[in-house]
């Protein structure tokens, strides 16, 4: 009796955003902490079991609301729900107990609810509701620990978020008024006034950190706890990409005009993030700049998608890139959190591996995503391939800096480990992270991996070489001969010592 009701499809659609809201009311810490991962389950199940095209209409709510799952939304929901689930699992034991624990959970649930809602939203009202809920509630996650740094970071985040929301509101009103409907299904094929497109783009551009609107991103990531950074970088910022795809009618003249700008801004952002990321020292801030740079690539892709309404390959490339970046960046942030607690060498090794995935070495999701992007580049944008090639090189350099910063962090903190107060990581922290890493390494094999091409690997090798050069120890004047002589002297010395020690044994 109960089973058919539970499996009834719209029920899951309602449960996915609403269950977290109910969970927010649970004050009990011992129950509440386990609800963190459970809250994302309905969304994950919905992504797996609901067929594309499922939707539920709630005509009484807001301006008339429709939630559902379309082809884009399904994969997006899967990406989103998985990161939320594992970050929730990580947070079960990863957040300090105390009075603010419930507050953290409340904001976690609100943010989750908003994020799921905006993915499933098929009308502007509920998209904006989800967007606003997620954006504002995430403040509570970023300002989790009360300190001067987090307070400042939280304030800056909030100012930019509110600004973005207000601009998006203006854009949404403009869009809805122009097409005479709040439903996204009505957007396609319509023509929008340029101002509407620009307002929507600016509002969402803050979320996707367009160069100039990106100030909040590295600051917020630096201050937030690792799980929150993982969520912010992995899924929340991508709401901007989804919003652009949803709000703007692809192929319309005004959209195309803005979309061309998006392509160039994205390209600038891809390098901007690297240039300024390379001068950072904190591992999480470097990752944040990497997110900005990757968002640049995503913005570029979105710009292309918005110019070509019927290009399925391009849309798929965008989705693959979103999935690739969301999961690997989530795993990187969670891993940094664990590394800071343990300082262990093998963890550093795994992080290096993850960094290589992000860079896109063969047989990884990075290679898959980048190859699909390159294959899908439209004919008149082929020259972007060079930009992407250079961006691979730049990302490699930034990841080199990231690994260097971890190594530096370890060196600074290992001496102090005796009075280091950070507790050893809990079991769920390891579990959440391990599952994510496994998934990151495994999921590309669900697809046909691209054939190995030297051309794709060259920027990575070049980047690695440059990193190696930068990290080489000081070399004495006279370089190789002097080094050889030095090595020879060292070797001779070592042999002599050995001989002296063992002479007695040998002679005896």
């Amino acid at each position: 009796m109960l089973q058919p009701v539970l499996l009834e499809l719209p029920f899951l659609l309602l449960l996915a955003p609403l269950l977290p809201l109910c969970f927010a009311l649970v004050a009990n810490d011992r129950i509440g902490q386990w609800l963190l991962p459970v809250a994302a389950l309905p969304a994950l199940v919905a992504a797996f079991v609901l067929p594309v095209g499922t939707s539920v209409a709630l005509p009484w709510v807001l301006l008339g609301v429709q939630w559902g799952i379309d082809a884009t939304g399904q994969l997006w929901l899967l990406v989103t729900a998985l990161v939320w689930l594992l970050a929730g699992l990580y947070s079960v034991s990863g957040t300090p107990a105390g009075a603010s624990w419930w507050r953290f959970r409340v904001f976690f649930m609100l943010t989750l609810s908003g994020n799921v809602l905006l993915v499933m939203a098929q009308d502007m009202g509920s998209f904006f509701l989800g967007f606003a809920l997620m954006g504002l509630a995430a403040y509570g996650l970023i300002a989790q620990q009360a300190s001067v740094t987090t307070r400042r970071a939280g304030r800056i985040y909030l100012i930019w978020t509110v600004l973005g929301e207000v601009l998006l509101f203006a854009g949404a009103v403009f869009t809805a008024g122009s097409i005479g409907s709040v439903y996204f299904s009505e957007v396609a094929g319509k023509e929008l006034p340029l101002a509407a497109v620009v307002l929507v783009t600016l509002g969402l551009g803050i979320k996707v950190a367009l160069p100039g609107l990106h100030v909040w991103l590295p600051i917020a990531h630096g201050a937030a706890p690792p799980a929150v950074s993982a969520l912010l970088s992995g899924v929340m910022v991508k709401a901007g990409i989804l919003g652009l795809v949803r709000f703007l009618p692809a192929g319309a003249a005004s959209t195309v005009w803005v979309a061309e700008w998006l392509v160039w801004l994205g390209l600038v952002g891809a390098f901007y993030g690297v240039v300024f990321g390379l001068r950072q020292t904190a591992p999480k801030v470097i990752l944040a700049y990497s997110t900005m740079s990757q968002l640049g690539v995503l913005t570029l892709l979105t710009g292309l998608v918005l110019q070509a309404p019927a290009d399925a390959a391009l849309a798929m490339a965008l989705l693959l890139y979103v999935a690739h970046h969301a999961w690997v960046k989530g795993a990187l942030f969670l891993g940094v959190g664990l590394f800071k607690q343990t300082l262990s060498w093998w963890l550093l090794g795994v992080l290096v591996a993850l960094a290589l995935v992000l860079v896109g070495v063969p047989l990884t999701s990075g290679a898959l995503a980048k190859d699909s992007v390159k294959a899908a580049l439209p004919a008149d944008w082929q020259h972007l391939a060079l930009g992407l090639w250079l961006s691979s090189l730049a990302t490699t350099l930034l990841m080199g800096r990231f690994v260097w910063s971890l190594w530096r962090y370890r060196r600074q903190h290992e001496g102090a480990s005796s009075h280091h107060t950070s507790p050893s990581p809990g079991l769920t922290q390891w579990l959440g992270w391990a599952i994510l890493v496994e998934w990151v390494l495994w999921w590309p094999f669900l697809f046909v991996l691209p054939a190995f091409k030297w051309w794709d690997v060259v920027p990575i090798l070049l980047g690695l070489g440059m990193v190696a050069l930068a990290l080489l120890p000081r070399i004495p004047a006279g370089d190789v001969p002097v080094l050889v002589a030095h090595a020879g002297y060292r070797g001779w010395h070592w042999v002599r010592e050995w001989w002296r020690k063992h002479r007695r044994c040998l002679s005896a």
């Binding site: 005509p59 009484w60 709510v61 807001l62 301006l63 008339g64 009075a99 507050r103 009202g125 904006f128 509701l129 606003a132 504002l136 509570g140 300002a143 009360a146 909030l158 509110v162 600004l163 929301e165 207000v166 601009l167 509101f169 203006a170 009103v173 403009f174 809805a176 008024g177 122009s178």
Partner: protein, 507 residues
């Protein structure tokens, strides 16, 4: 149930609007003579009157819904008659007043539990509501002006209630402002009457058939009326009395800002524009654009000044200055969608602002908190009150699913429809940002900062965080504000009602 309502409608007959006005008026007069000590009698009378009024309004809605016409005429002199009449717009305002009056009465009983002069207070309180309901049901401009003046007088003792030097000064200022405003309004009405004859409110307006030579006079009359009504609606630069009258007790401020005085001014402007001039004729006269500019300026000005207030109630007062002008902005933009936005904000602003004032009163009465800077950590001590405050504040910013979002959405759509988005949207954006700038720091203090010792804790936390009669009113009104936004498209929501009114205002 239906039969019962039928019987009731028949028994009350056409005079129902009169009964609605008298239900609180008569009780108000009786309460003056209740002994100060007979707490129970006064409370019973108060609640009884409020409940009876709400029920009568319910019957009225039911009757109007079923096509009954309610009109009470009383000819004072030839060519001068008082008229009470229920149309869609008055129903909206009457329902709002009756509902919020009940909630505020409960709140006021809890708030003034041990203070002196309660009979005087509740007497005038009831008169004040009678005046509000009367001007809501007024069927012509003369009746409206009569209740409008009556409201001025009934409110004066409420503002001065505490009897302190500051309170008396504020009340005198209030009287000076509103009396002058009332006088101008009266002059305007007499002038208009000499031109246009009986000034019955008709949906769509009554003046558009007047000959062209009267048009310049009509423009001057419009100006006089807007100045007269703008005093109560707190249009800048006529708003000076409002922040000062914050010395009044919290329930008075709540009622003043949500339904009674300020709203009466805004309601009057809506009436004048739509049912006297007719919005299309007003646009033809070219008087709407200046009105819109004043409203837009008031919106930004009020929000900007609110930023600098440390006193919580003053900050809310400036916020009212700003928010009430949304209604006027919606009125000043020609087009059905903007009208919907303006009219629906009449309700939305009321329930959101009353929530904020109830919460501010709770902080003052429970913990002695009067200033924003004293609010650190109050969320943990008074979670339900602070939650209600949070919902109200988010609504004021215009964040969904609160009611304020719906108002702003329709104002924006209306501006687009009328082709004035270019200057209206920046105003909406600026106001939202300013609202965020003065409300979010309060929420931050309340929820995120550790608590300081409370200035003056009167009521200890027991089962609930404060006295039940103080706690539930804001919780109820906050829920209403949430529901009005969340279920905006449901039948019988304020939004739907506003759409119904609007459909009748455009010829």
């Amino acid at each position: 149930m239906n039969e019962l309502l039928n019987v009731l409608t028949d028994a009350l007959g056409e005079n129902l609007p009169l009964w609605i006005v008298l239900s609180s008026f008569s009780v108000g007069l009786v309460i003056f003579f209740v002994q100060e000590g007979s707490h129970r009698l006064r409370t019973t009378l108060n609640l009884l009157a409020a409940v009876v009024k709400l029920l009568l309004v319910g019957v009225l809605i039911w009757g109007v819904y079923h096509g009954q016409v309610y009109e009470v005429r009383w000819v004072i002199a030839p060519n001068l008659e008082l008229l009470l009449h229920a149309d869609a717009l008055s129903m909206l305002f009457v329902t709002l007043s009756a509902l919020l009056w009940l909630v505020t009465t409960v709140y006021a009983i809890g708030y003034l539990e041990h203070s002196p002069h309660r009979s005087r207070f509740f007497g005038f309180f009831s008169l004040c509501v009678s005046a509000t309901v009367g001007l809501a049901l007024a069927g012509n401009l003369v009746t409206f002006v009569m209740f409008y003046e009556f409201l001025t007088l009934a409110t004066y003792p409420l503002v001065a209630h505490k009897g302190s030097h500051e309170a008396r000064k504020a009340a005198r200022l209030y009287l000076a402002y509103t009396f002058t405003g009332g006088l101008l309004l009266l002059v305007a009405v007499v002038w208009l009457k000499s031109i246009a004859g009986p000034l019955t409110f008709v949906q769509g307006g009554i003046l558009d058939s007047l000959p062209a030579e009267t048009h310049s006079a009509l423009r001057w009359i419009f100006l006089l009326m807007i100045v007269g009504l703008g005093v109560k609606a707190a249009l800048v630069p006529l708003h000076g009395w409002l922040p000062k009258s914050m010395v009044a007790p919290a329930p008075v401020s709540a009622l003043l800002h949500a339904v009674a005085v300020v709203k009466a001014g805004a309601f009057g402007i809506v009436r004048v524009v739509y049912d006297v001039y007719g919005v299309e004729f007003a646009a033809f006269l070219g008087v709407l654009v200046p009105l819109g500019v004043v409203a837009a300026f008031t919106i930004v000005y009020g929000s900007t000044l609110a930023l600098f207030q440390d006193s919580l109630k003053k900050r809310l007062a400036y916020s009212t200055v700003s928010q009430v002008s949304y209604i006027i902005l919606g009125t000043a933009i020609l087009g059905p969608l903007a009208t919907v936005g303006g009219i629906v904000h009449l309700v939305h602003q009321g329930i959101m602002k009353i929530t904020l004032f109830f919460a501010a009163g709770n902080y003052a009465e429970t913990l002695g908190i009067h200033r924003v800077s004293q609010m650190n950590g109050v969320g943990k001590r008074m979670p339900l009150t602070t939650l209600a405050f949070t919902l109200g504040a988010l609504g004021m910013i215009g964040i969904p699913p609160m009611a304020g979002f719906i108002s702003k959405w329709y104002l924006g759509l209306g501006a687009l429809e009328a082709g004035v988005l270019l200057w209206v949207m920046p105003v909406l954006i600026a106001s939202s940002l300013l609202n965020a700038a003065y409300f979010l720091p309060i929420l931050y203090r309340a929820w995120f900062l550790p608590a300081d010792p409370w200035p003056d804790e009167h009521i200890k936390a027991q089962r609930w965080e404060t006295h039940g009669m103080l706690l539930w009113p804001p919780v109820i009104t906050a829920s209403l504000a949430l529901l009005a936004g969340l279920l905006a498209s449901a039948p019988f929501s304020p939004l739907e009602w506003a759409q119904l009114i609007t459909a009748r205002e455009y010829k």
